[in-house]
Symmetry: D3
Subunit: 242 residues, 6 copies
Amino acid sequence: MSFNQPLGGNEMPRFGGPATMMRLPSAADAAGLDACFVGVPLDTATSNRAGARFGPREVRAQSSLLRPFNLGTGAAPFESLQVADVGDVAINTYNVEDSVRRIRLAYQQLLAHRVVPLTIGGDHLITYPILQAIAQKHGPVALVHVDAHADVNDTMFGEKLAHGTPMRRAFEDGLLLPKKTFQIGLRGSGYSPDDFNWSRSRGFTVVTAEECWDSSLEPLMQRVFNRIGDDAAAGMRRALNP
Amino acid sequence: MSFNQPLGGNEMPRFGGPATMMRLPSAADAAGLDACFVGVPLDTATSNRAGARFGPREVRAQSSLLRPFNLGTGAAPFESLQVADVGDVAINTYNVEDSVRRIRLAYQQLLAHRVVPLTIGGDHLITYPILQAIAQKHGPVALVHVDAHADVNDTMFGEKLAHGTPMRRAFEDGLLLPKKTFQIGLRGSGYSPDDFNWSRSRGFTVVTAEECWDSSLEPLMQRVFNRIGDDAAAGMRRALNP
Amino acid sequence: MSFNQPLGGNEMPRFGGPATMMRLPSAADAAGLDACFVGVPLDTATSNRAGARFGPREVRAQSSLLRPFNLGTGAAPFESLQVADVGDVAINTYNVEDSVRRIRLAYQQLLAHRVVPLTIGGDHLITYPILQAIAQKHGPVALVHVDAHADVNDTMFGEKLAHGTPMRRAFEDGLLLPKKTFQIGLRGSGYSPDDFNWSRSRGFTVVTAEECWDSSLEPLMQRVFNRIGDDAAAGMRRALNP
Amino acid sequence: MSFNQPLGGNEMPRFGGPATMMRLPSAADAAGLDACFVGVPLDTATSNRAGARFGPREVRAQSSLLRPFNLGTGAAPFESLQVADVGDVAINTYNVEDSVRRIRLAYQQLLAHRVVPLTIGGDHLITYPILQAIAQKHGPVALVHVDAHADVNDTMFGEKLAHGTPMRRAFEDGLLLPKKTFQIGLRGSGYSPDDFNWSRSRGFTVVTAEECWDSSLEPLMQRVFNRIGDDAAAGMRRALNP
Amino acid sequence: MSFNQPLGGNEMPRFGGPATMMRLPSAADAAGLDACFVGVPLDTATSNRAGARFGPREVRAQSSLLRPFNLGTGAAPFESLQVADVGDVAINTYNVEDSVRRIRLAYQQLLAHRVVPLTIGGDHLITYPILQAIAQKHGPVALVHVDAHADVNDTMFGEKLAHGTPMRRAFEDGLLLPKKTFQIGLRGSGYSPDDFNWSRSRGFTVVTAEECWDSSLEPLMQRVFNRIGDDAAAGMRRALNP
Amino acid sequence: MSFNQPLGGNEMPRFGGPATMMRLPSAADAAGLDACFVGVPLDTATSNRAGARFGPREVRAQSSLLRPFNLGTGAAPFESLQVADVGDVAINTYNVEDSVRRIRLAYQQLLAHRVVPLTIGGDHLITYPILQAIAQKHGPVALVHVDAHADVNDTMFGEKLAHGTPMRRAFEDGLLLPKKTFQIGLRGSGYSPDDFNWSRSRGFTVVTAEECWDSSLEPLMQRVFNRIGDDAAAGMRRALNP
């Protein structure tokens, strides 16, 4: 079997041709794919600057520079995986709640196939409906969440659905395995002396940005791997051989 | 009586000092004001590019260059009117419907005073709740609407509240006097052979951009004035001498 | 028969979905199409600022705002024509001469079908190979060329192929009907007292920018129409009913 | 005699080579020149946004696109005039008063030759010391001043020297012929009902922007020409044949 | 007693509301405040690029993202301090010397209260008049100066007051305790083999950027603390309990 | 003998005066110079984003901030070397092959003098003709190449001359001493499992970006110095004392 390959720079200049992710072929759905790129252009759940709605389009445009082999890690994904770009979820830009429903449905349709979806956002709220669809298929999951903020607010401006609440919603819905949930890189200013206490009290592992500075990240990654490596491998097997 | 004056460029450089509209004083509410500037930083009802949420802040910053007399028209508003900047409406950036409610309430509070509000947006949906508050106080009103689009869609993406629907909502709620409603500057591409038919069929006067090109706008303005000049004068008197 | 329609803003937000021209479907070639959009991302023939290589991509992205009906002219192209976006010509960004060959070949392939191609450039040199392919099929053609410059230099920096030479090359190759060639909008500074003499001496009609200022363009368009209207209609018939 | 010519785009690409005005040769002083370009990078007399200090550099960079003949007017300056770029005046960016002195001295040195200087600014205050040097040599002069503002303030922030005061200073110093002074394009908002009264009361001819809109500028230019055409011609003869 | 709190993101979106520093209340003067933010929009003492005049406005706008607790350090300033934004000093943008006088006077007025001022600049010259006002009240002070440049030039372009001279002026006026003056981060190119010798010869402690690279800054901060920690604590007590 | 000195910021503000490299004098050729700055504004050999054609102009503009002494290293180049800016090579922006020829010729002319040229590019292809001219004079040379890419492709889009091929061309022409060629900083994605094998197989020393991260670069620089320090010193002597 031969796998989809990124359109090469010697066939079409990198500034031309279809602006799909990594210049991979488009696909109408996830049938027959091992992995798929999918865009979720939602940014109406942000509290300050909007614009991530153009994220999927711009990330794809910039990805035209990527070539198939990673010379640092040796990764050669297109030697053994069938990957395509399945386009964007049609979010409802006027209605956050309906967008959450639309994202969940779109991922349920994707996950009806044996695919691993890779998402291009979009603001952080999109994590919640994606986790809903994943947990519906696979049960609660481990999570490695790299972010400046814990996103565990109960509400923002009185709303349950905002870019600062998805991890709380996911916990409440039982979508996460708390002992296998890592929040890495948390930092900055907050509304209370310790905005990270909620995460810790639910059993999440919190690693602040300060703990990451000026030292190798390898021991941290080893801790993560020890805790969830087996799950990840099993999950990947399950995803690709359902 | 002395009236609020814009902070002069010889008292504080134009790049310093409080960035209120035209460098007028701030006011906590509209009490005692003839006119007030108010910002409505909503942009989550737009269909393409967001960013108008920063409109009130940036319009105010740029307005620091304005001086009190208009040398072309002779207008001298601060010789006879008490004007201040009453700040922004606290819209709910995660929820368009709730924002509409919040804007309506904020204008109801402003209009409890004898003030004429001047709005800095924000996307076009904000016109609807502002008209709701105005009509609640004054009854249906004349409207001069200068825009590229008629904004009379029934729904956008299935939603009744979006930046392309406010004139339809206003008509349905009986907030407008159709014979005294002008839509000026309409142009561009549309979803049907004539997107402006709805407006015309309801009695609005439609003046396309093409009709405005390459000729004086004075005859058009005279038409508008003939139709609604008396109403405007009466309305202004009513607003300022309730 | 039903025709391709632009993807509507109520099906997919305008900032999402495939960034084809006017959100039309993609097509692998011109078979079955009445008209096609094609990008030619060449900018290595420019004498000063490059960047038009990103022109096709960016024009497509901005075209997402277009809707199917032109409300000013009444044009409804997608009611009677099958249109799609056939993507970009794979120009050779390191070699102008080879790019000219590649563009000519690509248009020969397109014109093997009964299609009318609509080009998104790219710098002005691309006009030459496009005219080569068109004249090969249809014979010499009328041309309405709207530009600040006549682009009739013999050479630039000693090169025959540059963005200031395509009209001279086209004339020399007999691709144009000089009596039916209009150059409209010429202006600016030049290398000799009258850079436009060459055009006039070959029989082209030159209309400078100064002649267009401050007056209606309708008489000019009528002149153009009187001279080439029959040819254009015949050409269009020939193109679509070969 | 042969005259300096702009460096041609076929000798050096327009993005390369020395960034002098119009790609003319540099000259250490004005000796032997009929006209010279000179930069005055002062912007510390502006009341709001600075940046014109980079004006001379950027205007020169953009001027690389200019070619020697004006195809609209037929002007061919480099057929009969010796022109060069004499560089920038070393203004004192920390001290407006000293900068005025330095500009005046620099123009006195230039005008010791029979040259006509063409200035690239810089903010509007620089007009004052340039007029000082010109009037010292030629006596009071006619002036055609195209601007949005009259620049006739007595002081700004208590200072006599600012970008809004040069025309007042020039009048007070007797540098202008008031009956031959035109201020064209005045508009906007001001500090008093008529900021232009001062100009009119001193005998200047004021033409507001409103008077220029929507009509040919030829009658206005004819008025200017009738009033000062003879002076201009005489002055030019005097400048070039002292 | 309750302290001023930053306006929360759940009361007013961060892109709306008054653009004060950290969204704190405005205050007309420093009465009753423990600390105050004050803007000094001077940039006419810079030698190259201007623009810092907009610094106070833009820093305030960006500060709208800050929340009251620092999750990394545990700092909770608004639990025990009364803080407000007292606005900008009305500098004279046309006259550096008068601006220095105005800044000194403004800080003398602020320091007539028991407040600690926190300044948003502005170019580096503003340090000099601020130190004048501080030393007038408290006597010579310790200084921790983090900068690429020592700012100890005698003159720039012949001027005593420029953004490269404030530390020299402060030393000459006896405003500093040289043994307790640290200049940290000095680097770059200079006018003589060692531009930092002047600082060292006056007893300042100079720490170059090279000494800071690739190592923890804690030992350096400990050195600073050992030398001036007691003074700082005493000074803070004195400032807040005069 | 006295050496050229950068124009000081106390003689002419840094935003004014001629925009030569480091504000050094211009020179028509390299006669009498120890080192010269030369611009090569070629960017038509790039595979994605163009713009480096403006590199020489912009690097010079920004270099106006440099002063003659490096306070970190103690370097004082203008105490013992005669340096000037010899301007730009007139590349042919429409023809990569001719540009390579022009660059080679320009460097042959420079190297007819005893000068060390310092180049401001421009894209990476320019290294090839520069090395041609250098090797013609000095024989094969050592090379320290710091880049993300090895630039050792055989062809790009079928072309031998492109920004990804110069090191291969240089090797093939025998311009390099492979054992004394270092490629430092290589990283990223590639077209094959190991794009760096070609370099290694020819004897180049490859140091990937990963090997440079999180550690001192001094041991690496010591390795380079041990291998080519003697050659560099000899080459410098040869260049300056031919």
